[in-house]
Symmetry: C2
Subunit: 156 residues, 2 copies
């Protein structure tokens, strides 16, 4: 489900970005942006590509990669690597920044927020003389469901 209002806002920002960089405003780029903002949760390139194809919108994988790079660069989309060698993306404009807990059994991903991370980021940046731009905190563990499943299997 696309939040039209939010999409229009993001579209404006993207347009301004493209203009400022002297890049072309192509229908493919907007189609990809729209597809992303009509999705919820994480997705990889193949899922995005397949989702568009299903809706009858044909773009090439190369264009998907190209556009994702632009969007990530401008922080309208964020990119994650959850261990496996497969980039995952999610829309990020207007969404509270958050981190992830990943179940190593079923690969479920749950989001959380903790204000302390911001403090760490600031402090470490100052201490080590880095200009920190973003961070990625992933907690890996086993979710309740998988633990329950494992316990059931053991006692059987």
């Amino acid at each position: 489900m696309l939040d039209v209002e939010k999409y229009e806002e993001v579209k404006k920002i993207f347009t301004a970005y493209l203009e400022s960089k002297g890049l072309r405003k192509t229908s493919e780029r907007y189609a990809i942006l729209e597809e992303i903002y009509s999705r919820t949760g994480h997705f990889d390139v193949e899922e995005l590509y397949a989702g568009m194809k299903e809706r009858g919108i044909q773009v090439s994988r190369a264009t998907v990669y190209n556009t994702l790079d632009l969007l990530v660069e401008h922080h309208l989309v964020s990119k994650h690597q959850f261990g496996r060698n497969l980039a995952q993306y999610e829309k990020s404009y207007g969404y509270r920044q958050h981190d992830h807990v990943i179940c190593t059994e079923c690969h479920k991903v749950v989001e959380f927020c903790d204000p302390r991370i911001h403090g760490i980021q600031t402090m470490v940046g100052e201490l080590l003389n880095f200009h920190i731009l973003h961070h990625s905190l992933n907690l890996y563990g086993i979710c309740g469901d998988c633990r329950a499943k494992a316990a059931r299997t053991t006692t059987e």
Copy 2:
């Protein structure tokens, strides 16, 4: 430089692990373990492989991958994904757990420790009912050197 005492300790642990799992104690596995514990800092599979070849120890890449998996599983080695699709590893037994700051310009990696992360990990695990096993916190930014370099280029 290999810390012989530490290596012997890790070797014992690895041996016990192999025995407990009914796996074979092959010379290749120990050779890889030794190579890893004689290294400092991060390395990727290719570097490890090349390093061994240079010392005249021939193992196949397949065995390197296989052994790394075993070592990571038993927490004698830790594995990182610093953005690029290239796994990086480092020895981890007896080393204080730490996190990383990565320069997005020159790919330099600096380590740091912050006790608050442990608190976050515990709290989130309880809140979301996950049994957290490990975490990965990466801060991405631009290091002092690269900022200086950029400033120089701009004013020239």
